[in-house]
Amino acid sequence: MTGTVRHPPQRRSATAPLELAELLRVEPLASADAVHVPDPGRLVHQVVLAETFERLGRTGPHALVVLHAEAATGGWSLAAGLHATWERNAAAVVVPRPAMSASSVILAQRLGIALLVIDADPVDTSLALAGQVSAPQAARALRVALCAERLADQTSIRGVLGVLNAELAPAPVALIVGRSVTAGRAAALQERPEHRQVRIEVNGAGGRPWAELVARVPGTTAAAAGHVESLLGLARLPLLAAWAQARLQTSTQAVQERAAFQLLRRLAGDPDSDALPRSRVEPHDVAAPSWASDLGWRVEGTNRAVWIGSAHGAETEPAPELTELVRSAWQRERPDWPIIADADGWVSWQNISADALGSDDPGDDIDDDDTGGADTDGATAMRRVISAVGKVARRHGLVLGIGGAHAGIPGLMRSVEQARLAAHVARDGGPGTVQWFDGVGARATLAWLPRGQIAAVAELSLPDLVAARDRVSLVDTVLTVLDCGGSLSQASTRLGVHRNTVLARVARAKELGLVVDDPNRRLAMHVLCYALATLWKAP
């Protein structure tokens, strides 16, 4: 960034010449057909009404030439007029429609001269233009007023950014929440030589900064930078209104986001969202749909998903009240991360924006947490969030699973699956447990065990054991012995009891039907013990 403009706005000279782009925003040129405009930033110093070629020959540089009468008879005259104005470095040529021909467009492109076609009378047009060029400030004020009208019509964030981008073209404008681009053109953030960024803060409720509007303005048009700033300032209120309106309808939004996420999942080529666990789909390029940014979702680049699930392993959909609680808790911490109810939990994701990844190809999967410094940044941000929401998770009996960082929408879906798996594993640790998929490993295999059903089987096949009062310690002990490969001494060390106690418990368990020394039944017993132990451990 070569220069950052902040409040109060820089004063610019009232007589700074208008740019071609500025003239194109207001009548009479707003209704002109801009056939070819190679450089909208061209300054217009004067307006010339050229009736003859002799007059054309006396045109100075940076003039806006309106062809008329003999000089606009069509055919050759426009070609000759374009050549003459090109020789004299004119800013643009305005021609009445009858004199226009298809080949003139090609010639204008060849010569790189702006060509505008009007339906109005050229004399009236040039008079109006001359008035505007001689009083640039008035033309700018008119343009700001027109822009304010258009902004007031917008009801969505996207709409507001659309108006700004159309109005300030070619300068790109983006809305940044946190560090990610929520709407507009991300090009506004890229630094370019001879360009400067204009930034305007947008304050949310309570005067706290909510977002920032950023425009990248060509440095040559420094006079217009202040103008850009006033337009961005005008957009603040419509933006806040659109944002607030969206927040008001949270329940509708929750349903809408849920449906949208399902749609996103289908886009990624994974139509069957209930097949568990899902087979990995081959990642391929899926363009982010426009409605994703409408919802404030950022899916381009690399994403890392978080799955929030119940610690008790409820297989049913969570209650809507719980969804509201999770949503509000989540949005307090990270308002820019989405939170969507999905199947038996909630999903959110962190968009590690493409520029934070440096030169990494966004198409590459990044599986390992510790490969690059930039990726570690993403993980650090994630850890901060996790520690902040950990208390809430404990209070509501929730566990968190965190997936790997993957590129694109298919990568996001993959990360969601990983996070969900990690969350299932996290249930072993009780409420508030956070499990990173990278740390799960083979244990993930056990995450999907239908523990409730196994327990029901145990009730039928081992009624004595299930009825026993000391069943928890018995099952724990047998599980530990099996975990330790039958070594009683290792098991006693892990359990913190005497070896003889272990031996006694194993003997009692055997009496109740939990036979561990039969090779035919050992795997079944091991799985049974694992299921019962994790099930009974939960409060």
Binding site: T52, F53, G75, W76, S77, A80, H83, S101, S103, L107
Partner: protein, 367 residues
Amino acid sequence: MTSRYVGAVSSVTADDVPALVEGAKFYSPAVGDAGWISMVSWTTELLRRNGPVVLVRPDAVAPQTRAVGLCAIGSGAALADLPPAGDEFALAVREVEHLTRRRAGVVYPLAAATVSALVPLVAAAQLEVPLLDADGMGRTFALIHHTSMHLAGLPIGPLVARGATGESIALSVHAAARADTLLRGGVDSLGGWAALAAYPCTAGQLRTAALPGTVSRLINVGRLLLESGDTEVLIGRLAAVAGCRRIGRGRIVELEHLSRPSDVTIPAHPSSVVIDEVGGHGRLMRLELRSEIVAVFADGALAAAAPDLICLIDVLRGELATLDSLEPGALVDVLVMPADAVWYSAEGLAMVGPASHGIPLDHPRRR
């Protein structure tokens, strides 16, 4: 090169007629030859029967010798519909002789191009007088006072237009420009075309007032055109004989009709041809058409304009492309040939320069 270049052709025989016709077409590239095929065979037959016509330069005859200019005026299509009766050319000269009370010792072409190049040849054969190797235009212009004789101050009249109907119009005017206006209605009534005999004067006056060597040039150029099928060779030879140069080669991308407002002084509708240059600078060339190609703009800059003679060569066929045969996609060479020097004088340009075709720009040769 097998063709015999003749500095001054001494006589025109029946065998020279095909070359003369090709040359006449070359110097009037806009006009199709549909109208005068019968005229060509008749002329050939006439020369075969009456023998060759003697071709002399103006300075090779006695200065007091009376001369009458001849051409065909009106429309080529009308000539095709209503073929000549055969006697209109000779009788037009006779009527001028009657009006001036002087016997013509030589005839000469008013414009050595199109069918008007054949007309004086026919008259010379019938009247058994020599044909002067000179003309008044060096090509064709739209109006009959666009001549070097007019620029030199010679009177256009008395003049006689004689039609195939056997009727004739004799005119005597004070201002040469009026002659065309007065004749136009009459020629329509005569069947759309007429033989015109005008500019009666002496050979001595024509030594300075006419453009010498233009008839023999037609035959020489025609021989080249008949001989060569290769465009490069053809253009090289034409450059040597006629001084032409190629502005560029390109593909026709667009034909625009009625591309600019028309006035009434010169007939024919204005239209444009857009050519995308192949190779070179890749320029966009724009040809402005009237009854001929009146201007060439290269990227909007005037590259050539009337009175330059601008013609298109069909590269694939190696022959002239007439304006009614143009179609998008054709690959053409744009050739420019300078007209005679007299046309680049201030008076000449005012009469036949780009401004006379509604293009008020300085001629590229005058800038």
